[in-house]
């Protein structure tokens, strides 16, 4: 029998002791400081940036208690170890153990009492912290603070109870047991810390499906909070937390059994009770793991079944009509008619559809009302037709479907299995939500991937549009919902009058759709009809604050939309549906789909989903708390608000960019590409429609979230642009796309495999980045080449011809031809070829002309640009001028420099050249050539000669672009650059001898075959490629560099000497301050091997070199191949290989 008075007494004494320990207050202060600091940091970030990017919304302090609490809890769990690690030792040390041991309580009472005595002083501060943060939030809100918010109560409770309690309980019980097993208190602490460390590692660095079971702190188990569909923990989460709690009690039982104090109780009983509890904990965990494994097996079984059905003739779905009855959280009933067509080359004996296995088909009737035989297994609905459906004939069947869809069925095929990500390094992906669909009592989100409506054919292979065209169909659905509920679906929601139990709505958008999403809840609605399209916003009643704040932008928004719709309509690309709804969804809803692309699911036909953390929670009140600040701006406050709103959505990289999302309705949801290159074609068309309709491109890749390094780079780049340049705000979308597409690995792949030949499943992340890099450029090039109106017509023509069906690249070319354009000639074979243009500015002149008639100064800018590659390309000039009194001189203050918008895009055919002339009134300061997509990879400066303002050239001004004959310059010397094929790197490996490394594609990312040097300050230990703008190069400027060594790592430049004789060898040295600042240059060792095999070893003192070509030595060389080997042996800190030059000595 347990005496609670004894437990209470021991607990009270222990609490008293704990509270009087200095280390208790140290840990408490530290964790409080950290938690409050994190709260404030998140609050400031959210307050400052949430209106700039919808992606930032997840940083809302309202939802971040678990993130804040994670750090707090981690510190406190470590603290708890140091509170409990010397309990027994302390009693012995303080010579009170014998007196205590002789008191009439049991060891179990002692252990429980002490456990409570440490647990409560550890847990109560967490409760207090939660209350403090809540009070702080309330105060900040009450005071109208620009930052901070109250905490979401569900998440607060989740943190305090489900995260903190089991975590502290388990950590303490482990320490209790360890201290009894290991008497040395320091060893006990180390062991407990090691166990905690292992738990942390397992939770954060094992795939999350397994790791979450080790997550002591409960961070992974706790759902990202939602206000509109709050769920604290799912079943796995409860099992995991209860598992830890029971395990804690079990360990306490063991501790009592193992306690050295003699006790009247049975140690065996205690141990077996402890073991029982631990077994219970293991059962809980086991059930969870079993469920996970069963889920994996089940989905695998489904997948296999669907794969087996691949290749079966599939019906071409024409329409779905009927009724859907939704009882939120309880039931979903469908009474629908499917009209489908047999393939045009084959009769259909059975009609194969995918339908969620959680739903049950209760009745299937043919067109005459007779029952149909059918089977519905593994999500495959096979209807036996009463008679074979002749090719291209259509029929209608009726289905009665009952039951709730099974979420596990969604995304059977996925490039990334969210269960296999590692939270420690890929955890940002969790910010994109996890629930494939929702069917809760407060919120329903029936997403297409759930296949809650039948979809033709098996589920697998659906995303391979090369071989399986997207199935478009028309829809006419009535949806019954409870009273007060509203729904968003494809197009406009029509109210159906009648005597129903709740509300009935009809969705009949008037144009085909490829998929159907149905979102329902108790929303607030705001809507307006613009150009015949009903635009509606459905938002949670709690989140209407921003709508009120932005009420004055209504006119601007309407006018912008009207303009877009009218323009598209005028050119034949009218918005296809009768409505477009923007609907708020919980943050728990997964924003990404499956397949190789894992594209956003927030953009659905006729409806855009908006996460609750995005616009609804953005701090527009903070951004516009001083409206007077903006009243002098053009368009006033309303215009600034509208611009900010556009920025918010445009900078959403979590899939919620409504501009790019809504633009899909115009083209991609009406027709889609199929056949070779379909992925790229669809991507380009998506980019084009987005550019045409909303002038945005956007970026969304799940891999961006998965690769936390990339995400951090993009955020840093965005913040740097914002804080350093200040004048412009680079959206995180642009930064993310730049970071993704600037990666040398992406370029290497793009230059090796054509888009047509690329298998997206081999490296989906790279495929997306290559599509982003190439697809966006091609879209922009087409737009530039055809112009806005003609491009709209091109899309309209394709859509008109192929609406509800698919098209091929030939169809696109034909459509272009019909408009008078040869797209292949304009943009090259971008699908089938890997070639790119390469631009070289061979001549740059700037001089003063005679003044104009009105006496204004005139300057001539004259540039000659060659494209030395066979592929055509496009570039722009970004020019800057010195505005200081028109007298020019490139030495003037840079603050007087003005940079007008870039030039119009200039198209340059393969192996061709142009001369670009421009007469300007201000002295040209600098010119940058900005290529769309070229071997140059990035924009580069064109060096302008200094202008003598006093010297006036008496020549005619040259204005415009003139094609000039193209030829490569004839040089008397031979240059080998580190990017040339004649440059290679050799590593010595003792066992394998020398091995060529330069073209080896290592597991890590490479640039032109070499590892990429990561930092300006870190010298790589292997030859690595580093981009240095001041180094030698034709299209790109890179060097190869290596850390000083013994000469075992070598770089070799090879070339052919055309004529025997005396040749000078020069090495190119970039500006020294741009290489490895503050690192010592030294003497390098070179070996020159001629075609006779004669070797000459020389040294090269890099200390005394200047920027540019530096003569090394002269050699008498025979005709033939000569190599220059540069080893890593040096008395300096590094060796670099940029370029070498051989020139005949006589010619110097």
């Amino acid at each position: 029998m347990i005496h609670f008075q004894q437990i209470k007494t021991i607990a009270r004494a222990e609490m008293r002791l704990t509270r009087r320990l200095a280390r208790y207050w140290i840990f408490l202060s530290l964790s409080y400081l950290l938690a409050i600091a994190y709260y404030l940091v998140y609050s400031i970030l959210h307050g400052s940036f949430s209106t700039y990017s919808a992606t930032v919304g997840v940083l809302s302090p309202r939802f971040l208690i678990s993130a804040v609490g994670l750090y707090y809890l981690f510190i406190y769990v470590v603290g708890a170890i140091f509170l409990a690690f010397d309990l027994r030792a302390r009693d012995t040390r303080e010579r009170v153990s014998e007196v205590l041991d002789s008191r009439p309580y049991t060891n179990l009472e002692l252990v429980i009492g002490r456990f409570i005595g440490i647990l409560l002083p550890s847990w109560i501060p967490i409760l207090v912290l939660a209350l403090l943060l809540e009070i702080l939030g309330l105060l900040l809100v009450a005071l109208g603070s620009p930052i901070g918010d109250t905490m979401n109560l569900i998440s607060l409770f989740g943190f305090v109870v489900t995260m903190a309690l089991p975590a502290l309980a388990f950590a303490l019980s482990v320490v209790f047991l360890v201290t009894l097993m290991v008497r040395n208190r320091l060893a006990a602490a180390v062991l407990a810390l090691a166990l905690l460390g292992i738990s942390y590692w397992a939770a954060f660095y094992l795939p999350v499906a397994y790791g979450k079971w080790f997550d002591l702190l409960g961070y992974i188990s706790l759902n990202f909070p939602s206000e509109i569909s709050p769920v604290m923990l799912n079943l796995d989460g409860w099992l995991q937390r209860l598992g830890f709690l029971f395990a804690a009690f079990g360990l306490l039982g063991f501790s009592a059994a193992m306690h050295p104090r003699l006790d009247g109780g049975s140690r065996g009983k205690l141990a077996s009770s402890g073991a029982g509890l631990i077994i219970l904990a293991l059962i809980f965990t086991g059930i969870g793991i079993y469920r996970n494994v069963s889920d994996i097996r089940l989905t695998e079984r489904w997948k296999i079944a669907h794969e087996a059905a691949n290749g079966m003739p599939t019906p071409d779905l024409q329409s779905i009509t009927g009724g859907v009855t939704v009882e939120p959280g309880r039931s979903l009933n469908l009474e629908i008619d499917l009209t489908f067509r047999a393939p045009d080359n084959k009769a259909l004996e059975t009609a194969l559809f995918t339908l969620n296995p959680g739903q049950k088909v209760t009745e299937a009737l043919d067109a005459t009302g007779r029952p149909l035989s059918f089977s519905h297994e593994n999500g495959l609905l096979q209807l036996i037709l009463p008679y074979p459906l002749a090719p291209d004939n259509e029929t209608t069947i009726h289905l009665s479907i009952r039951g709730l869809p099974d979420n596990r069925f969604a995304f059977l095929e996925s490039a990334i299995d969210p269960g296999m990500i590692k939270i420690g390094s890929e955890g940002n992906m969790a910010l994109l939500g996890h629930a494939p669909a929702l069917f809760k009592s407060r919120f329903v989100a029936l997403m297409p991937a759930l296949r809650w409506l039948p979809a033709s054919g098996p589920e697998t292979g659906r995303d391979d549009t090369r071989t399986r065209p997207i199935d478009f169909f028309s829809i006419d659905l009535s949806v019954d919902l409870p009273d007060g509920w509203l729904a968003a679906g494809p197009g406009r929601r029509h109210n159906v009058e009648g005597n129903f139990k709740g509300g009935r709505f009809r969705f009949s958008p008037g144009a085909p759709v490829p998929k159907v999403a149905l979102i329902a809840s108790r929303f607030e609605s705001r809507g307006i009809e613009i150009e015949g399209v009903y635009m509606e916003l459905l938002i949670h009643p709690k989140h209407i604050k921003n709508i009120e704040l932005l009420a004055d932008t209504g006119e601007k928004i309407q006018s912008w939309i009207r303009e877009r719709l009218r323009e598209a309509s005028d050119n034949g690309l009218a918005y296809p549906y009768d409505g477009l709804t923007l609907v708020e969804v919980p943050s728990t809803l997964r924003t990404f789909g499956g397949g190789w692309r894992m594209d956003t699911v927030l953009a659905q036909p006729g409806v855009m989903l908006m996460r609750e953390t995005d616009f609804p929670m953005a701090r527009f009140d903070t951004a516009f708390r001083n409206p007077d600040k903006f009243k002098d701006r053009e368009g006033g406050v309303a215009q600034v608000k509208w611009e900010r709103l556009k920025t918010l959505f445009d900078s959403d990289v979590s899939g919620g960019n409504i501009f790019t999302g809504a633009a899909r309705n115009f083209f991609n949801y009406q027709t889609a590409a199929t056949g070779p290159g379909a992925f790229a074609l669809n991507y380009v068309m998506k980019g084009l429609s987005s550019l045409l309709i909303t002038e945005k491109t956007g970026y969304f890749s799940v891999h961006f979230y998965k690769d936390q390094r990339r995400m951090a780079q993009a955020i840093t780049s965005t913040v740097n642009t914002y804080t350093v340049e200040q004048s412009t705000f680079t959206s995180i979308g642009d930064a993310a796309a730049n970071v993704a597409t600037a990666r040398p690995g992406v370029w290497d792949k793009m230059l090796n495999v054509s888009l047509k030949d690329m298998d997206p499943w081999k490296n989906p992340a790279q495929m997306i980045d290559i599509l982003t890099l190439k697809g966006n450029t091609v879209a922009r090039s087409i737009l530039d080449a055809l112009g806005h109106e003609n491009t709209v017509r091109l899309l309209a023509s394709l859509r008109e011809t192929h609406r509800g069906g698919s098209f091929t690249v030939d169809d696109l070319l034909a459509a272009g031809k019909a408009l008078g354009y040869d797209l292949n000639e304009l943009v090259g074979d971008w699908l089938g070829s890997t070639t790119l243009p390469g631009f070289v500015c061979s001549e740059a002149k700037a001089y003063r002309l005679s003044d104009s008639a009105d006496g204004s100064p005139r300057y001539q800018l004259l540039l000659t640009v060659r494209n030395d590659e066979p592929a055509p390309g496009v570039f722009r000039f970004i020019e800057s001028f010195n505005s200081s009194a028109g007298t020019g001189g490139r030495t003037s203050s840079p603050f007087m420099v003005v940079t007008p918008p870039p030039s119009k895009p200039i198209r340059l055919a393969g192996k061709s050249a142009i001369r670009y002339g421009k007469v300007v009134s201000q002295a040209p300061w600098a010119v940058i050539l900005d290529p769309y997509l070229s071997l140059n990879r990035e924009k580069f400066n064109i060096e302008l000669p200094p202008i003598d303002p006093e010297k006036i050239e008496k020549v005619d001004p040259i204005e415009g672009i003139e094609e000039i004959p193209w030829s490569l310059p004839k040089e008397p010397f031979i240059v080998v650059d580190d990017l040339d094929p004649d440059f290679q790197v050799l590593d010595s490996e003792e066992s394998k001898g020398m091995r060529i490394n330069a073209r080896r594609n290592t597991a890590g990312e490479t640039d032109h075959g070499l590892p990429i040097g990561q930092s300006a300050f870190q010298i790589p230990s292997d030859w690595s490629r580093i981009t240095r703008p001041m180094s030698w190069g034709k299209y790109r400027h890179t060097i190869a560099a290596v850390k000083a060594g013994n000469g075992e790592k070598k770089a070799v430049f090879t070339c052919t000497i055309s004529k025997a004789g005396q040749w000078d060898l020069e090495l190119y040295i970039p500006a020294k301050e741009t290489v490895f600042p503050a690192r010592k240059w030294g003497t390098w060792h070179l070996t020159i091997t001629d075609s006779n095999g004669d070797e000459r070893e020389i040294t090269f003192d890099s200390n005394i070199t200047a920027e540019g070509w530096n003569l090394s030595e002269s050699f008498d060389l025979p005709e033939g191949d000569v190599s220059v080997t540069l080893s890593n042996k040096t008395d300096g800190k590094f060796v670099i290989a940029d370029a070498i030059r051989w020139s005949p000595s006589a010619g110097r």
Partner: protein, 315 residues
């Protein structure tokens, strides 16, 4: 319940039968102890290492004897520890308390752990006990700020806090000043009237006048059991006085267990015990020997005089 009533009717006692305890390494601490201890102050004398503390710890349920059986108030110390623990208060040889607790907090906690559940009566009891050991002025002082003597008095207080039927005190006066020792002896005498007090010490004076029953333990065995008077009687003829000069003092006392030394001008009177009953030349037996001398004489007769006296002298 009936059994308990019978025990009560028979009076409280500690019964030790054939207790033997062997520590690791075959160190025999107790070697067949048989004792029955009844109400009153029971003194357990013996040199350090004799096995007294081991026996005390066995009685207090802190140690399981290798052999034998011990019952306290009729309850077996192994099988009925909880019941036994309710009966006694224990002051171990080495005692302190949680340094960060206040004096009254220590006593309150230990009182509650000893079964005093009622808060008001516990407070009263704490106050009374603090008064009885003279710590009422430092009730709210933290233990870490107490002197050694105060800590010892706190030890006594905690042993008495729940008014136990049996009191087990091990070397209780170590660290106390003479006045405190006197006070302690008086307290023990008073308490011993209606309860069992087992007092283990190697300081004979600690037993005081209230002690009517003693056991001399040496090398794990009870070598004497009886009243102090009996022990004194046994020492008759073995305690003597001898006069020495400064010149020959060292030579003469080298072969005897000296109890006391008194200088009287040039004369020095040595009081000592003889282990073998033979008195040195010039010595004359003392008729009125005290308990301390009797104990030394007893131990000296067993060749253990040095251990018994040596430590005593040190103290």
């Amino acid at each position: 319940m009936r059994e308990t009533m019978n025990r009560n009717a028979n009076g409280m006692s500690i019964v030790i039968k054939g207790v033997r305890h062997v520590y690791k390494g075959n160190a025999v601490a107790l070697d067949g102890i048989d004792l029955t201890i009844g109400t009153g102050l029971f003194g357990m004398l013996g040199p350090n290492g004799a096995g007294k503390s081991t026996l005390m710890r066995i009685i207090c349920t802190l140690l399981v004897p290798t052999e034998g059986e011990v019952t306290v108030g009729g309850f077996d110390v192994i099988r009925q520890r909880r019941e036994v623990r309710r009966l006694f208060g224990y002051l171990p040889q080495e005692f302190s308390a949680w340094r960060l607790h206040r004096v009254e907090e220590v006593l309150d906690t230990l009182a509650s752990l000893s079964g005093l559940n009622d808060k008001a009566s516990r407070r009263k009891r704490v106050s009374n006990v603090l008064g009885s050991v003279g710590l009422e002025g430092v009730a709210d002082r933290k233990v870490k700020k107490l002197s050694g003597g105060m800590v010892r008095r706190l030890g006594v207080a905690q042993a008495l806090i729940h008014d136990p039927r049996i009191l087990v005190v091990d070397e209780p006066t170590v660290g106390l000043d003479p006045e405190e020792r006197l006070h302690f002896r008086q307290l023990m005498t008073k308490l011993g009237r209606d309860r069992i007090i087992v007092l283990s010490t190697h300081i004979v004076a600690d037993l005081g006048s209230g002690c009517s029953d003693i056991a001399l333990i040496d090398r794990g065995r009870v070598e004497f059991r009886g009243s102090p008077t009996e022990l004194i009687k046994r020492a008759r003829g073995a305690v003597f006085e001898i006069g020495v000069t400064r010149q020959n003092e060292a030579e003469i006392i080298a072969s005897m267990e000296v109890v006391s030394r008194e200088e009287n001008g040039r004369d020095i009177t040595i009081r000592a015990v003889s282990g073998d009953g033979k008195l040195p030349a010039g010595a004359f037996p003392v008729e009125n020997s005290n308990l301390e001398e009797a104990y030394l004489a007893f131990m000296a007769a067993r060749g253990r005089g040095e251990e018994a006296a040596g430590k005593e002298q040190l103290l």
